[in-house]
């Protein structure tokens, strides 16, 4: 077991989920119809897809440098958050039975990755580039504002601050996932919860796509809810991070769907 094997495990599971998702949400007929024009679709959507790649690249660099910078200029707000919400996460955690914890552990990693990738597949298969552009832009806003907050604020999650009340459940139940999360993020980056904001983004976009993909809305909503719950039950995020995550998710969709960001001649 090492980082590579855990990453491959995630890749395999998520590919499986994507396949199942595509078959049930999009339907085999539609997929068959879309396959011949996939190349064209990719070309049409090249710009938003490149934007996403660029955002992710910047994200990984900034997160590396950002931690040091954050200690230099950021303010440590852990104790403020704790003063505001106290033992909320601890009580939530004590209510969760073991099977729920395990489920949430898998949702936190597999479910979340699937939730982020699947909308790209869905919007790619549409005749219009509009929704993919919106989704990509909304993701970019999430990362942009999120990273800025990570630099401005130093905050440790509940498991790090209150080990007497909150268990590090993700790492206790599925320790190998720590290898993945450590690669992706530093433990001082908890405010706001990007897991939450991106899940909210996907759920709101699913609402916009409900006419095209009626089955996606309930699935996305349920998964998004699970991811949000998992961040707290697993002891990773404070409720405060989640509240600001919801706000960030909503703002990003609002911004990304403003008409001014659409070039003329877009189909409605």
């Amino acid at each position: 077991m090492n980082v590579v094997s855990v990453f491959s495990e995630v890749a395999v599971v998520v590919s499986l989920l994507l396949t199942v998702g595509a078959v049930t949400v999009v339907g085999p007929d539609r997929i068959r119809a879309e396959l011949p024009v996939l190349r064209t679709r990719l070309r049409q959507n090249a710009r938003p897809l490149l934007l996403l790649v660029a955002v992710l690249a910047v994200n990984s660099v900034v997160r590396d440098v950002g931690v040091g910078l954050s200690w230099l200029i950021g303010s440590n707000i852990t104790k403020t958050i704790y003063a505001v919400e106290g033992a909320f996460v601890a009580s939530l955690q004590s209510l969760a039975p073991a099977w729920l914890t395990l489920y949430l552990g898998f949702v936190y990693i597999y479910g979340y990755v699937f939730l982020l990738v699947f909308p790209l597949v869905l919007t790619l298969l549409l005749g219009t580039t509009r929704y993919l552009r919106e989704t990509a832009f909304a993701y970019a806003v999430n990362y942009g504002i999120g990273l800025l907050c990570y630099i401005l604020f130093v905050a440790y999650g509940p498991r790090n601050f209150a080990p007497d009340m909150v268990e590090p459940l993700l790492f206790d139940t599925i320790p190998r996932f720590q290898l993945v999360t450590a690669q992706v993020n530093a433990n001082t980056n908890v405010f706001p919860s990007l897991h939450t904001s991106l899940s909210v983004t996907v759920a709101l976009m699913a609402y916009r796509l409900r006419a095209e993909y009626p089955r996606w809305l309930p699935v996305a909503t349920f998964l998004a809810g699970s991811v949000i719950l998992s961040t707290m039950v697993l002891g990773i995020h404070w409720a405060t991070d989640v509240v600001f995550g919801v706000l960030l998710g909503a703002i990003s969709v609002y911004v990304a769907t403003r008409p001014r960001f659409h070039s003329e001649g877009d189909p409605p």
């Binding site: 200690w71 852990t78 007497d164 590090p168 320790p175 290898l179 999360t181």
Partner: protein
């Protein structure tokens, strides 16, 4: 000048002057009142911030801090806990002195009586680093510290007893206890783990090989600092120096309360000279630095000059390193006698105290000399009051120890290889002078970083690592015990947990207040709840050395500073009357100071 003039204008001017004078007189009266009133400021609430490392890095420290927070809160002291990552925590506390209180661990593997000298002697209060980070100054303590350096036998024991009692009372820091280091080791590739992480770092090199194919010892750590900095002089990046001491040899090492030879093959204690006692050290033959240069007496002399002042006298004010100051301060002068002999002048201390000076890491002159220059950023001088020696990550490090640097990747891993030219590995086993001849059962040591102790143990269990390099939380003891290939390593550590106070400012400048805080801490409760019993409560920093008098030994239910309550619960009435007696007031549960 105004006398002859009767003009209305002059009259008016007089009137103005007169009223101005009256006004001034009135103002001065008012000023006096204001100043008196200002002296009678309203009482303010007492608050305290405790900094410590987050649970991922040190579960023990964070939980201690949280318990302290709840006790202090109960006593009416508005207390908050602030989690800070290790390198930053020790930068803020040891270098910038920006803290009220912090929960930390004693930074060396062993404590000796003379360890206290640098920890609390007032002459170090202005320095930055592990030497007196508290800003503590107490004339009586200073005197006792100086006296014990010269004394021996019963007289020294008496002095040390008074010293420990005085420290327990005035409390520059509050000792909590010494934890057992809990580690997991996998027995499928290497054997002989018991004691491998004990007092002597060299023991790690004496493991047995089980799997003939195993050529690399793979360790996992939850402390990433070692992957990005290997400078033995930089306190914020050092834990207890186990890894750096395998890279940087010393003349001798502390072992079982004594000092045994390492790079120094022998030494004599000469008190016949006029300038006071001298430690004359003879080096082994053919010592080498990792880069192939010869290690000579000049390097040794240079080391002690560097440890006294990393600017080597070039700065107006000395820039001492942030570690090893206590030991190094014993040596007032280091003189090269010949290529292999160096004389260390130790005028004001006993032989036992002087020998501890032999345990500092040796620094290569050809590498460190240029680090005596002013520190800069990217080649640009910024007028920093510090030297490159206290800023550099020292990667790659040039030491003379049994392990040499190979590669490092920030926040990921560090790889060291066995240094074949080290005297212990190259030496003829028949050589009777060898303290121990080493034949490490591996060619390299790899230390990988993971974010949590549970993951570290999982990696050892799955066989992806051979052992955890650092201690893990006591909650993992059971899962280590249950796993087939894992062996549980328990080592008594000499490094105690403490709550350090910044005595430079109120309310912690008041020793009565600090003493009262020490009555709010139930050490047994901490050992039971935080460490599940895998720790020993202690009052004195010298606990475990055999030098602790009965008066400051920790006994259940009562110590010099008994807990004002029972079973971890404070008796609020008792606490409040204790604080009131000390001149504090309460306003609806909040402690006030005038």
């Amino acid at each position: 000048m105004y006398g002859g003039s009767q003009s209305p204008r002059t009259l008016s001017r007089r009137a103005v002057l007169g009223s101005a004078a009256a006004g001034l007189a009135a103002t001065s009266g008012c000023m006096q009142r204001m100043r008196t009133l200002a002296g009678n400021k309203e009482a303010s609430a007492v608050s305290l911030s405790i900094k410590t490392r987050p649970a991922d890095e040190d579960p023990g420290a964070m939980r201690i801090a949280r318990e302290l927070e709840s006790w202090f809160d109960t006593a009416g002291v508005d207390t908050t806990v602030q989690p800070v990552t290790a390198a930053e925590l020790y930068r803020q506390t040891l270098l910038s002195h920006e803290f009220d209180a912090f929960v930390g661990r004693y930074p060396y593997r062993q404590t000796t009586a003379d360890s206290l000298y640098s920890l609390v002697h007032s002459s170090f209060a202005a320095e930055r680093g592990w030497q007196n980070p508290f800003g503590f100054a107490d004339l009586e303590v200073d005197e006792l510290l100086t006296a014990q350096r010269r004394q021996s036998g019963d007289r020294r024991a008496e002095t040390l007893a008074s010293l420990q009692e005085q420290l327990a009372n005035v409390c520059p820091f509050l000792v909590i206890g010494t934890p057992d280091s809990i580690r997991a080791a996998n027995t499928t590739r290497f054997s002989g783990w018991t004691g491998a992480f004990g007092e002597s770092p060299l023991r790690l090199l004496t493991l047995g090989r089980v799997d003939p194919a195993a050529t690399t010892l793979r360790l996992v750590t939850t402390d990433s600092r070692v992957t990005r900095n290997l400078n033995p002089l930089m306190a914020p990046f050092r834990r207890r120096g186990r890894i750096t001491s395998l890279v940087y040899d010393s003349l001798a090492r502390q072992y079982h309360r004594g000092v045994v030879p390492l790079a120094g093959v022998d030494w004599e204690w000469d008190t016949t000279g006029r300038g006071g006692a001298v430690l004359r050290v003879t080096l082994r033959d053919d010592l080498q630095w990792h880069d192939g240069e010869a290690l000579t007496a000049a390097d040794v002399a240079f080391t002690y000059r560097m440890l006294a002042d990393t600017s080597l006298g070039a700065f107006e004010q000395a820039v001492p390193p942030t570690r090893y100051r206590g030991r190094a301060s014993v040596v007032t002068e280091a003189t090269v006698v010949d290529e292999r002999t160096v004389e260390l002048a130790c005028p004001d201390c006993s032989r036992a105290v002087a020998e501890r000076a032999l345990t500092v890491p040796l620094l290569a002159e050809h590498v460190w000399r240029e680090r005596a220059n002013e520190a800069d950023i990217g080649g640009v001088g910024i007028g920093a009051a510090t030297t490159e020696a206290l800023v550099t990550d020292a990667i790659p490090p040039v030491g003379s120890g049994p392990l040499q640097f190979d590669t490092a990747s920030d926040r990921e891993s560090l790889r060291l290889t066995v240094f074949d030219d080290h005297f212990s590995t190259a030496m003829d086993p028949a050589d009777s002078v060898a303290a121990s001849t080493l034949d490490p059962p591996f060619d390299a040591v790899e230390i990988g970083f993971v974010g949590s102790d549970a993951t570290a143990v999982e990696l050892v269990e799955s066989g992806d690592a051979d052992a955890t390099a650092v201690g893990v939380g006591s909650d993992l003891v059971r899962s280590i015990g249950r796993a087939d290939d894992l062996t549980l390593l328990l080592d008594q550590s000499g490094s105690f947990y403490f709550l350090g106070f910044n005595v430079r400012s109120a309310p912690l400048s008041n020793s009565r207040f600090r003493n009262l805080l020490s009555h709010l801490v139930d050490r047994q409760h901490l050992v039971d709840t935080v460490f599940d019993g895998y720790a020993t409560p202690a009052v004195s920093p010298l606990s475990g050395t055999g030098l602790v008098p009965e008066t400051v030994q920790w006994v259940p239910g009562g110590t010099v500073t008994p807990f004002l309550g029972s079973n971890g619960e404070l008796d609020t009435g008792q606490v409040r009357s204790a604080f009131r007696e000390a001149g504090y007031r309460y306003d609806s549960g909040t402690l006030l100071q005038s």
